[in-house]
């Protein structure tokens, strides 16, 4: 545990409001605080970073992430904010072990990613849903097939696929578009499909890298509502974004990165960067 570096994020729930007022900029107090239940931060962290640094070989003098320590607990909804190049995507890719940290340890659900054997990585990823800005849908498969594909390739049997896929598509509101191809969908619908694919296996953790980066504000609002609904079912959600409006409206825990450093970690936070 590295509480000292977390800038007060590790507070009991009744102190959370005052805590955010103290450490956040004036903007935080100016905005209305929404009625959001605080998630008690207890149990084993889903994600735990301990003094993690990542240096890309191409830029040895400028670490993408430096000395990051943070804990994210089950059921939390966390925004990861920062400018382009601040290290948001690097952090996301470290969580799904697409990258390995240069130093420090990352623990996901009690498993140390550093000592994890390569063949175990797929089983880690089955427990992490991933959503990206560019949807990553297969253009020659229908909406239904795209979602079913995620279950097929992890060896789920046909009955499971037949019941879970329509169910998850109903959850994201695409029950009428099962037979559409991705290029017949709007951006918002495509992102819903990719969210459906990410959660169809019911992972305890959903990681989104700029899920609304390609979408207009109204559609983004819809996507965020969806993520919030998913969070309400108990899924831990981590959203890397630079969508100021979204972060300010939802007032959830915010972790801010600036040039690879963790600069702020607050409950009910705001975007907080001057654009």
């Amino acid at each position: 545990m590295t509480e000292a570096t977390n800038q007060g994020a590790r507070q009991p729930r009744n102190a959370a409001a005052t805590q955010s007022m103290r450490s956040a900029p004036d903007l935080s107090t100016a905005l209305p605080s929404l009625e959001v239940d605080d998630i008690p931060q207890q149990g084993t962290p889903v994600i735990s970073f301990d003094r993690v640094s990542k240096v890309y070989p191409a830029q040895p003098n400028r670490p993408a992430l430096e000395n990051i320590s943070l804990q994210i607990y089950p059921g939390e909804f966390v925004f990861l904010v920062g400018h382009s190049g601040s290290g948001k995507s690097t952090l996301v890719r470290l969580i799904i072990r697409e990258l390995r940290p240069s130093s420090g340890t990352i623990t996901i659900a009690n498993e140390d990613l550093g000592s994890m054997r390569n063949w175990r990585v797929p089983y880690l990823r089955r427990n992490i849903g991933c959503v990206f800005q560019d949807f990553k849908l297969l253009p020659n498969k229908t909406v239904y097939e795209n979602v079913a594909f995620a279950l097929e390739v992890i060896g789920k049997n046909r009955n499971v696929i037949r019941t879970q896929v329509p169910e998850v598509l109903r959850l994201v509101g695409l029950q009428d578009k099962l037979d559409k191809l991705p290029d017949q969908l709007s951006g918002g619908e495509a992102q819903r499909v990719s969210i459906a694919r990410a959660i169809v296996n019911r992972p305890p953790l959903l990681v989104c890298d700029e899920p609304t980066g390609n979408l207009d504000p109204q559609t983004s609002r819809g996507i965020m509502d969806l993520l919030e609904r998913i969070n309400r079912t108990g899924t831990t959600v981590l959203v890397a974004t630079h969508d100021r409006e979204m972060v300010d409206n939802m007032r959830r825990r915010v972790i801010a990165l600036e040039r690879g450093h963790l600069t702020r970690d607050q409950q009910r936070g705001v975007y907080g960067f001057d654009v």
């Binding site: 390569n118 797929p122 990823r125 990553k136 594909f149 992890i154 049997n157 694919r197 296996n201």
Partner: protein
């Protein structure tokens, strides 16, 4: 089990996706295996011939027309006394002509010859095939044989299996080296071709693979279809090669046997079955190694 079905389905889809390269790799495997098969069959035929020649471990010493009967008798006695000699007999010029007439299909040629060009000979049967060379050497160096030998050089008047075997070996060795070089080359080409085909298949499914990794498909599951595809190409190539060999066996082999009646070419069906199995196994190995190479280089999982 269901993932095996998935692999096979994907492999067949890869088939239609890159038809030209797929055909290319199948044809190279087919040709390599076909030639390997031909050489295997040829090696077995040659082995049979060598064995049959070796089993005829007799020495024939040709005797000059003007050799004295007493010298011939003395020679026979001398040979009888040698180690490893089982039996000695004498064939006169007339007998030789008669034998030749019986052997060749049309006796008229023999009649038209007028005289009798065939020499008389002493036939030596050996009890031990290993002794051929030493017995032949002893006959060759004996003064008596120099006197009665058909040719000026006594060595030329001696005919025995060992020499034929040696000559066969020197020929077959060359053939074998050429064959091995050819096979190595063809196997290499097939590996390159399969490697390339699988590389294209991987490229074509790049996006799919990225998503499979994202949602946690196991490495084996991602690799499976490509291994299956390589193996499928190899098996099809092997089956084609086996089919062509089977065709050759039924069409060409009887004719070859007919024109080379004195050589025991015959290979039985079991041997051919073995050859086909070897081809199938070799094809599978080529296919799997080829696709494994491609995956090592282009499929980071």
């Amino acid at each position: 089990m269901s993932s095996l079905a998935y692999f096979i389905k994907q492999a067949f889809q890869g088939f239609t996706r890159n038809l030209s390269t797929t055909l290319g790799s199948i044809i190279t495997i087919f040709l390599s295996l076909f030639i390997i098969g031909l050489f295997l069959a040829g090696a077995i035929v040659i082995d049979n011939i060598v064995k049959s020649v070796e089993s005829e471990v007799s020495i024939t010493a040709y005797v000059s027309d003007d050799a004295k009967q007493t010298d011939i008798n003395a020679m026979e006695d001398y040979i009888k006394g040698l180690d490893g000699v089982a039996n000695v007999s004498f064939t006169t010029k007339e007998q030789a002509l008669e034998d030749f007439r019986n052997m060749s299909s049309n006796a008229e040629i023999v009649d038209e010859l007028g005289g009798n060009p065939l020499p008389a000979s002493i036939n030596i049967e050996l009890s031990d095939p290993q002794m051929v060379q030493s017995v032949a050497d002893q006959i060759e160096t004996s003064d008596l044989f120099k006197k009665i030998a058909d040719e000026d050089n006594p060595a030329d008047s001696l005919k025995y299996g060992q020499r034929t075997v040696e000559r066969l070996f020197s020929v077959t060795n060359y053939v074998r080296y050429i064959g091995i070089a050819l096979i190595v080359l063809l196997v290499f080409i097939s590996l390159v071709f399969i490697n390339n085909t699988i590389r294209l298949a991987i490229m074509a499914r790049r996006k799919e693979i990225a998503i499979m990794r994202l949602v946690g498909a196991s490495n084996g599951f991602i690799r499976g279809p490509f291994l299956m595809e390589g193996a499928l190409h190899a098996v099809i190539g092997a089956l084609l090669a086996a089919g062509c060999l089977e065709l050759l066996r039924h069409l060409a082999l009887p004719r070859l046997q007919a024109s080379l009646a004195f050589l025991p070419i015959g290979i039985d069906g079991n041997t051919f079955l073995l050859i086909y199995l070897i081809l199938l196994a070799a094809g599978l190995v080529i296919g799997l190694i080829g696709s494994a190479f491609a995956m090592r280089r282009y499929l980071k999982v």
